[in-house]
Symmetry: C2
Subunit: 170 residues, 2 copies
DNA sequence: GTGACTGCAAAGTCTTTGCACGCGG
DNA sequence: CCGCGTGCAAAGACTTTGCAGTCAC
């Protein structure tokens, strides 16, 4: 898989770190070395991840006491608030994905390999808008998950859901 | 709200308890008094609920030692397996809804009052099928959540998400 | 300097599990 | 009467919080 970005990207003028810095300033918060390190790691590649995976990637820094578990959790929340990450829940744990410089999309979720496959569809938003109008509902966002089995797993005849962490695929 | 069933119902030949009983038999499991009590409570009215709410409804039975917390959790899992309940995750906790004798639907989720509003749309399934075909993906189910603010909350100008449990609304 | 931020340890919250007794088939 | 199912207590997975020292601004 050579394409790291399944759906291409959206033009943005600021880097994630710059954008986060601006968000922090607007809230009277501070750009600490820890927040910098976490943002760097999070945006070093496009992927879906949960706190545990991020902590693994940061294990050296954690061992060196340059960043800690609670700070990672706290910062993930801030990145979500700041609109840099989008949080979702999958199998009881919080999973994050890039939401800055990345287009709106939905997911196919393979129960066999736990992969999230991204796809785009303009119709979904249209459909949501129509339903919302009917119910006099004010949409802030939508989330469509299509669960099943991906082509690869079907070929391999995998039936049992694996317990590995969530991986993305483009 | 006089309509207890927002979307009407689907004709089924067996009662939930009968259906569960059949499921249990097919698995070499037993229809115990506890499972009977839990099924009765769960299907006594149509609503979305989580384990904590169900436990509250069962508090008298729990006090009398006729049923226990672990058994409630175990039975909810079995009802999900049996296809009587559908499990979903909302705000980190598992939420259940009737899935037997009840039509396929999706949800509007109001962030202010935490209500789930059910709606039906044939187009969603069509759309999912089309996407799945494109990705050579085998669908087992889909789940669409439209998040935002319901008409009532908008009228009341409620902005802050409440922390009460999930309620359904027809 | 001062107050936001951090790491640590500890506590939450929701859910699951090990075990010995009890009861359904 | 076998062995699945139960209640109990305890552990588990994930995440959050209180606090005192530390560092960004």
């Amino acid at each position: 898989m050579s394409r790291r970005y399944a759906l291409g990207s959206v033009r943005v003028s600021l880097s994630p770190l710059e954008r986060f810095s601006e968000f922090l300033r607007s809230r009277g918060k501070r750009l600490t070395s820890q927040r910098r390190l976490i943002v760097q790691q999070v945006f070093s590649h496009h992927d879906h991840f949960d706190a545990e995976e991020l902590l693994e990637h940061l294990q050296e820094l954690i061992a060196r006491r340059e960043v800690s578990r609670p700070t990672v959790y706290r910062t993930l929340g801030e990145l979500d608030e700041a609109g840099l990450l989008k949080k979702m829940t999958l199998g009881g744990r919080n999973v994050y994905e890039h939401d800055y410089g990345y287009p709106q999309h939905d997911h196919l979720y393979c129960q066999s390999c736990n992969r999230l496959i991204e796809f785009q569809s303009k119709e979904i938003a249209r459909l949501c808008a129509r339903v919302a109008e009917e119910y006099d509902f004010e949409i802030s966002s939508h989330r469509l998950f299509v669960t099943g089995r991906c082509a690869e797993c079907r070929r391999q005849g995998l039936l049992t859901p694996s317990s590995e962490s969530v991986k993305s695929r483009g």
